[in-house]
């Protein structure tokens, strides 16, 4: 072990969210037969926060969401909400609402009736129902489609109706299961912004499930990264990007170069590269983000930076910047982001600051 264990990282992430714990997930595990989907997940969702559960397919993120909603029972562990044990309640008694992946709008009811559903079954007075439904539809700009059946409106509109149907009940917590995955790229980006500002407006805590790390970065207050049923890291997008806890996190979120090396007496060494490191002696793994690796300019090498020379193997144009794959003379492959790379450039001089080589835990140790 060269860096703190993942569980402590997760715990410190939880603690930093403050005292406003709305939902507490305590040591939740879930297996379907022999298939272990979640193992010991602990997580706190704060009042009013936008928390994203990020993970690849099969990471258990949807199962975790379904456990919070009450559609699945955890094999072990507890859920608490506002001092009340949640996991013993059936879904219809939880003050939690869900926006389903394919919206799950009732096809036999109009948009309006769909939105009114929760209030109707709660036996609210008709006058209140129509007022609140109207307000909810106005909020998602669907007033003009109030009388339409779900099959007559577009996917983006269905999405907004599903949102209104959930929010009209004023839940304490809103769960969203990859709600944007069915939308095309442009609409998706637009909805990300809308969803985020809507969440700010209503002040309800959102737990948002996605496999899209970019989406998670754009929208979340905090990201809980799930991998094979375990939390890798829970942190703010900025923190998770600049201080990834594990090699997996570093690779899953954005691009990175992983350097496997050895630390001896405060000196890290990877092939011919060396730099100062505060880590104890032993093997270590470092992550360097592409934007932290520079092409050494005409002003000459920067004192204190780690230098290497390499050959450009691949370049991908991203508009403002270019992502280069540079193979160093040691045979290491670096990803770096650069601007104004001359056409036909072959060999380049590169450098990065030792502080930007972030020690990460080797993810494979845990498998």
């Amino acid at each position: 072990m060269t860096v703190p264990a993942v569980s402590t990282t997760a715990a410190s992430g939880t603690a930093s969210s403050g005292a406003g714990g709305l939902l507490e997930i305590r040591h939740v595990a879930k297996s379907f037969g022999k298939n272990v989907v979640l193992r010991d997940v602990s997580l706190t969702v704060a009042e009013g926060e936008f928390l994203t559960i990020l993970g690849e397919s099969g990471s258990g993120k949807t199962t975790l969401l379904r456990i919070i909603a009450g559609f699945e029972n955890p094999t072990s562990g507890e859920l608490w909400m506002g001092g009340e044990r949640l996991d013993s309640l059936p879904p219809y008694k939880r003050r939690v609402n869900t926006v389903f992946q394919n919206y799950a709008l009732f096809p036999h009811l109009t948009v309006e009736q769909n939105v009114a559903y929760g209030l109707r079954v709660a036996h609210r007075p008709e006058a209140e129902i129509s007022a609140r439904v109207e307000e909810a539809l106005a909020r998602v700009r669907m007033t003009s489609h109030a009388k339409a059946k779900p099959s007559k409106i577009s996917g983006g509109q269905q999405q907004r109706v599903a949102l209104a149907r959930a929010l009209v009940n004023q839940p304490r917590l809103l769960l969203l299961d990859e709600p944007l995955s069915a939308l095309d790229a442009n609409l998706r980006r637009q909805m990300q912004v809308e969803l985020k500002s809507l969440q700010r407006e209503v002040g309800i805590a959102f737990v948002f499930v996605t496999h899209d790390q970019e989406e998670a970065m754009v929208m979340s207050d905090r990201i809980a990264l799930l991998r094979m049923g375990e939390l890798e890291q829970v942190a703010t997008p900025r923190e998770i990007y600049s201080r990834p806890a594990t090699a997996y996190v570093a690779q899953f979120i954005g691009h990175t170069t992983l350097l496997r090396g050895e630390v001896r007496q405060g000196q890290a060494r990877c092939q011919s590269l060396t730099w100062r490191s505060a880590l104890p002696n032993g093997g270590a793994l470092f992550s360097v983000r592409p934007e932290n690796i520079r092409l050494a300019g005409s002003s000459g090498p920067n004192p204190g930076a780690v230098h290497f020379r390499g050959r450009i193997r691949h370049r991908a144009f991203h508009g403002a910047t270019e992502l280069l794959q540079v193979e160093s003379t040691d045979g290491l492959m670096f990803s770096l982001r650069a601007i104004n790379v001359p056409d036909g450039a072959g060999e380049v001089d590169c450098e990065f600051d030792p502080a930007d080589a972030i020690p990460v835990q080797d993810s494979d140790e845990r498998v």
């Binding site: 009450g70 559609f71 609402n97 394919n102 709008l105 059946k149």
Partner: protein, 282 residues
Amino acid sequence: MFSRGYRLAVTVPPLAWVVLFLFVPYLLMFCYSFWSVSSSQTIVHSWTFDNYRQLVTVDVYWQTLLRSMWIAARVMLFSLLLGYPLAYFLSFHAGRCKDLYYQLVIIPLWVSYLVRAYAWKTILGSDGVLNTLLQYVHLTSHPLEFLLYSPFAVVLTLTHIYTPFTILPIYASLEHIPRNLVEASHDLGASPFETFWRVILPLSIPGVIAGATFAFVLSLGDFLAPLLLGGPSGVMISNIVVSLFGAAYNWPLGAAISLCMLVLVVTLLFLSERIEKRWSFS
């Protein structure tokens, strides 16, 4: 795209079949219904509405038609009352045994109709299984006579025979309900009972209508169950048609009654399709 020969080969046989075995007989029946029988038992090929007039004015005909509809309506009702819960259980709660239960519903359909009708005769007769049992446990001292040779026996038998026909379409429509709609309903605070009333039942209406139509139409035209188990009070309209075409040798009247039944049934099928469409949302 396809050769001329291929197109002929796939269209002509079914077309010929329909013309020969459906269109021509119906046309014949239509013609017969406007003809009459002379006193010397020969068919008179001149057009008359007499047969239709008889159907309306002679009590036994319209009364039997009404009774048949009443029996069919009861069979429909009981099949739904029995079939819906069964289909619901099968679709939502049978779990791993689903396929097994499904087969158990299907199996009786492989057994001859006649065998099943006879089985009820054995059960309901005055020396039958049921009466013997009732007397054995001293619930009655004499055999109950109304069990057999009564409309009751007909309704019971037809319900037994046609309930699988109502279960299957209801089951199919329940299976088509996306399960996340049920979850969404629970999520929005509806109890399982409310979810049933507000989501599951409305979305299974097409299956209910199809099942009800099966039970009603099949029962309406049935003639074996009333023949075997109905007795004089359980005679249905098809028995009358049979006797008109047989012993009574009055094909024109038989054809007229058949044609009325046909119109009735086609109207029902048309209506049920309209309702099914109205309640389908895919």
